[in-house]
């Protein structure tokens, strides 16, 4: 049988002109139950969704579960996407990050209830980064480099670490108010540095 699962992946979401627009168009079709459009959305977003969830959760099995939930959530709620309120990729990544963080916090809460332990350190990065997103990685690295160390660290702990800003403040040994403003100022600088248009 020709298994579509064996086909090579399509290029990721990327930087090519208009790709964000295409994604928004695809989501509109997905909202109408268009399977082919959903397949295209999957091929564009499975890498970033899985990558982000895995970055936050670390555990491959859990990450796969959550990434699946996210992608199905995209299918289920595509009618709620509104291009006037932001890009398609931001909409999907918001769902993905929220789900990953919800999972981390419920896990942490459960672990704390049972054993009073905190999540362990990061596991090794034995994962294949996607070639298509090399430019995105480069740009993010460059822009993070323009921030103050405290801004960059706060953002990384909050977004990639899935910590609340209260936890970030504790980890960095600074006041919550400081972290709050560093995260905001840092993200504003990231936004400007990356000239956010897709």
């Amino acid at each position: 049988m020709n298994t579509p699962s064996a086909l090579p992946r399509q290029p990721g979401p990327g930087r090519s002109e208009g790709s964000g627009q295409d994604l928004a168009g695809l989501l509109t079709r997905v909202a109408r139950g268009d399977h082919a459009a959903f397949e295209a959305v999957y091929d564009r977003l499975a890498g970033p969704v899985y990558g982000l969830v895995r970055k936050v959760l670390r555990d491959p099995a859990q990450s796969e579960e959550v990434a699946q939930e996210v992608l199905l959530e995209v299918w289920r709620t595509a009618s709620r996407f509104d291009a006037a309120r932001g890009s398609a990729i931001a909409w999907v990544m918001t769902i993905a990050h929220r789900r990953a963080v919800d999972r981390v916090r419920s896990e942490t809460a459960a672990a704390l209830r049972e054993k009073k332990v905190l999540p362990g350190p990061a596991s090794g990065d034995d994962v294949a980064e996607l070639v298509e997103t090399a430019l995105d990685r480069q740009r993010v690295r460059r822009c993070l480099g323009t921030l103050t160390p405290l801004q960059a660290e706060s953002i990384k702990l909050a977004y990639y670490g899935g910590y609340t800003h209260t936890q970030v403040a504790e980890l960095l040994g600074v006041a919550l108010g400081t972290v709050k403003t560093r995260i905001r100022d840092g993200m504003i600088r990231m936004r400007d540095c990356m000239e956010v248009t897709w």
């Binding site: 909202a31 909409w91 977004y159 990231m190």
Partner: protein, 261 residues
């Protein structure tokens, strides 16, 4: 009050990065609904956060694709609604449920349990729309569990083929479990009282795997075929009402069952 509002405004960054606790998030979302500049800022910061996200892209597990694509058609989609987009990422039970809200599953249910529940709910829903008696319902619930097991099988493979009468047929096959789940999309209804019947065809002959239910909004709910062996073929034929013991017409679609890898 103004101090407090000013402090809330400083939370745009933390909000865009999901770094607020549940209560803070709820509080901020209330503020956000009334503060247009905050909503604008959140929008921009979310776009920036999405860049951070895309930079983490890695190759996802291969099996995930088949699973997600097979489950989607069994998952009911939300109708267009008016939930403000800025807040629609995940609402997660942090706010009091709005009366008449269409959300059914609490997203705080986590893990495989949630995924399977959601899937089972979707499958059950499809079944329930088709059955009327308690007996049928019990049978359909058992059926939905079996179907869920095929979709969740680590070796599940999916294939979609065009039907000769139009539309397409999707098969999710677990070679290890010797089971397949068949759904159709946009296949025209058979003429009059005729029905579509699913067959497992082996060199020894054809065995009925049941009738396809009438389609809803273009797709039929899943039918499970058991005892599917490598080398068999799955076929769908048009038959008189109630089905027949042996196929009497040329199949509208035939899918070979591949050898296990």
């Amino acid at each position: 009050m103004s101090v407090q509002r000013h402090e809330l405004h400083l939370m745009t960054g933390s909000y865009a990065l999901d770094a607020l606790s549940c209560t803070q998030r709820a509080e901020f979302e209330k503020h956000l609904a009334r503060c247009e500049p905050c909503a604008d800022e959140v929008r921009g910061l979310r776009e920036a956060a999405a860049r951070l996200a895309v930079a983490t892209a890695i190759e996802p597990p291969r099996e995930m694709r088949a699973r997600v694509l097979a489950t989607a058609p069994l998952t009911r989609q939300l109708p267009p609604g008016r939930i403000p987009h800025a807040l629609a990422g995940r609402r997660g039970g942090r706010q009091p449920a709005r009366p008449g809200s269409t959300r059914r599953i609490r997203p705080s249910l986590t893990g495989a349990a949630a995924a399977i529940l959601a899937l089972a709910a979707a499958v059950t829903f499809l079944f329930v729309t088709q059955v009327t008696t308690r007996h049928e319902l019990q049978q359909s619930q058992a059926g939905s569990r079996a179907i869920g097991a095929v979709l969740a099988a680590p070796d599940a493979r999916i294939e979609t083929l065009p039907a000769s009468v139009g539309g397409s047929v999707t098969v999710v096959l677990s070679a290890r479990q010797h089971e397949a789940v068949v759904t159709t999309a946009d296949v025209p209804a058979p003429v009059g009282t005729r029905v579509y019947q699913l067959w497992v065809m082996s060199p020894a002959g054809a065995r009925s795997a049941g009738l396809l239910p009438a389609s809803h909004a273009g797709s039929t709910s899943p039918v499970l075929a058991v005892g599917v062996a490598p080398g068999d073929r799955l076929g769908i034929t048009v038959e008189p009402a109630g089905g027949t013991a042996q196929p009497t017409t040329t199949p509208v679609v035939v899918m070979p069952v591949p050898a296990t890898d």
